[in-house]
């Protein structure tokens, strides 16, 4: 079977799960596309998943209320063994990239990490992934009785729903106790569209000037466009914006239809998080700023004047 580990948040199946299911269905391999849902309150999520996967395994237990890398590993390894999975697809979220190596080691399986394409060829799985801070595309492959792959969010289209919902099965798990003890949690949530799922991202850098100016310029523009807000590390380090909004090597990777970079120089570490965006717009007063090398539409000028002018233009 092809085992897909569903990602979900706030009682809903994540878009990334539908993307994993597309990747799973595209494979030329025998066996049902099986979605595994781990959590403590997941019946609605399981019912949603049943509209997209060939079968759904539901591991509902209070022990899985909080994500933990070792619990997730134990659960997935047990299901993979019992169900004789030959392929395990996991989302390349921060958590997915954290527990997937453990799953791979325990199953003695190769790991295709953070991949953007996947296909079968003579029993091998071939994949592509970005490397060197997303400046290089590498082709890799693995051949083994069982293979683990993590799939980059946004790389596959979401799966279409099935004509009728599939069956759901409850599963019992033998779980260890978590060794990493979580003593506190800070969730950075906003009412806005999620940064990684947004169609348009408006991102600001140090060129916005101050925290107040960032709020006054970037927020109305994002609101007007129904966009998510992004930020550079410089802005996050300065405390202007929460880390959840950071785009780049050590923040989030986004590939929206439009990425609007305002007062951002375009350091490689920032570019690695957004250089796959379909269309890039940049505003910077320095015509030599590296961001302009990958810009579709740019304006050389002062953000304090240009952003209000753009807002006025959008209202017309």
């Amino acid at each position: 079977m092809i085992l897909v580990v569903a990602e979900h948040a706030n009682g809903k199946l994540a878009k990334s799960t539908l993307e994993l299911l597309t990747a799973a269905r595209s494979l030329n391999r025998a066996g049902d596309v099986t979605a595994l849902i781990l959590g403590s309150d997941i019946l609605a999520i399981a019912a949603e998943a049943a509209r997209f996967a060939d079968q759904v395994l539901v591991a509902q237990t209070p022990a899985l209320a909080q994500y933990d890398p070792e619990l997730w590993t134990a659960a997935i390894v047990q299901i993979a063994r019992e169900g004789e999975a030959h392929t395990i697809l996991i989302g390349a979220s921060r958590s997915g990239r954290e527990y997937s190596p453990r799953v791979a080691i325990r199953l003695d399986a190769p790991l295709l990490e953070d991949i953007i394409s996947l296909h079968d060829e003579a029993g091998s799985l071939h994949a592509q992934r970005y490397t060197y801070l997303a400046r290089v595309t590498e082709s890799i492959s693995a051949k083994a009785p069982i293979i683990v792959a993590t799939i980059k969010p946004g790389a596959f289209a979401p799966a279409a729903s099935l004509p009728s919902p599939s069956e759901q099965w409850d599963v019992d798990l033998n779980l260890p106790t978590a060794r990493l003890k979580v003593t506190g949690k800070t969730t950075e949530s906003t009412d806005r569209v999620s940064l990684t799922e947004a169609d348009i991202v408006v991102s600001g850098g140090r060129g916005a000037g101050t925290a107040e100016a960032f709020t006054a310029l970037i927020e109305p523009l994002a609101d007007r466009l129904g966009a998510a807000i992004g930020a550079t590390r410089a802005v996050v380090d300065a405390g202007w914006r929460p880390y959840a909004e950071q785009v780049g090597q050590t923040g989030k990777t986004v590939q929206p239809s439009v990425y609007i970079a305002i007062g951002i120089s375009g350091a490689v570490q920032h570019l690695s998080g957004m250089n796959k965006s379909k269309l890039i717009v940049a505003i910077n007063r320095d015509a030599e700023a590296p961001i302009f090398k990958i810009t579709d539409y740019g304006i050389v000028g002062d953000v304090q004047q240009l952003v209000p002018a753009i807002l006025a233009e959008l209202k017309k």
């Binding site: 948040a9 190769p110 953070d114 693995a142 060794r179 810009t295 240009l306 006025a312």
Partner: protein, 252 residues
């Protein structure tokens, strides 16, 4: 106790990546210790400065040139280094076998490594090593302290961050914000010359790459590069919105 800090050598972020014969060519480029690994070295030194009695060992697996990065770690204050010399490119899972073997042999208690590698963009080395040793892990750590054999800290998760406690032995992966790595001082550089680097060969570790590398390409998306002059902000704004609405058709 013993702290391992894993050292990888990568292309300097300011350098242009070049591909030759289907692979990234590093021969004439400036190579440096991965910044993420610098955070690891710095954190090991800080834990010791804050009272932990520890021997700190830099571990490197890679070609002869890797000794430059190991020397930097020694000059920053690491006590000794182990260099497993090989020209074979090992994926993170294969590499973790070497690290785990050395950790068992040397009775390491704590392993520090980067949250993401700046060359293969991999996150897997820390978790894979932890799994081989049956140790717990905390990834993307932004704050760390040690009291007795208990670590406390903060790390980034999918949305937001968590504070945690964790007993040794453990693997910690680093993240920006953990610390500001120090520069080697001249006395540090002089002392490093007398520190031991043990050379080993890969043979005895019995590792084979688990993933085959086929080729590397630089696929840059071609961009329109339409750069407008913003001296007249109203006119530039109008032109930009016109392009977005009527040429790219991405906004209403």
């Amino acid at each position: 106790m013993r702290i391992f800090t894993l050292i990888r050598q990568v292309l300097d972020a300011e350098e242009t990546v070049r591909v030759q014969n289907n692979a990234v060519a590093l021969a004439s480029s400036k190579l440096v210790m991965d910044t993420m690994d610098e955070y690891g070295v710095e954190e090991a030194l800080r834990l010791r400065e804050q009272g932990a009695e520890a021997e700190i060992i830099a571990i490197g697996v890679g070609p002869a040139r890797l000794q430059d990065a190991l020397r930097t770690a020694l000059a920053m204050g690491v006590d000794r280094a182990i260099h497993v010399e090989t020209d074979l490119a090992l994926d993170a899972l294969a590499l973790s076998k070497v690290v785990a073997t050395l950790a068992s042999e040397e009775s390491a208690d704590l392993i520090l490594t980067g949250g993401q590698q700046a060359d293969w963009d991999s996150h897997a080395l820390g978790a894979a090593t932890a799994e081989r040793l049956n140790w717990p892990q905390a990834t993307w750590t932004t704050a760390l302290a040690l009291s007795g054999r208990t670590l406390t800290g903060r790390h980034d998760v999918d949305e937001g961050s968590e504070t945690f406690t964790l007993d040794l032995p453990a693997v910690i992966t680093t993240q920006q914000g953990l610390n500001e790595p120090r520069y080697p001082t001249l006395p540090g550089i002089m002392k490093a010359k007398k520190k031991e680097t043990r050379k080993e060969t890969l043979d005895r570790f019995d590792v084979v790459p688990t993933v085959s590398f086929e080729r590397a390409e630089i696929q840059t998306k071609s961009r329109k590069l339409r750069i407008l002059d913003g001296k007249d902000p109203q006119a530039a704004a109008a032109e930009l919105i016109n392009l977005l609405r009527n040429e790219a058709r991405v906004i209403a």
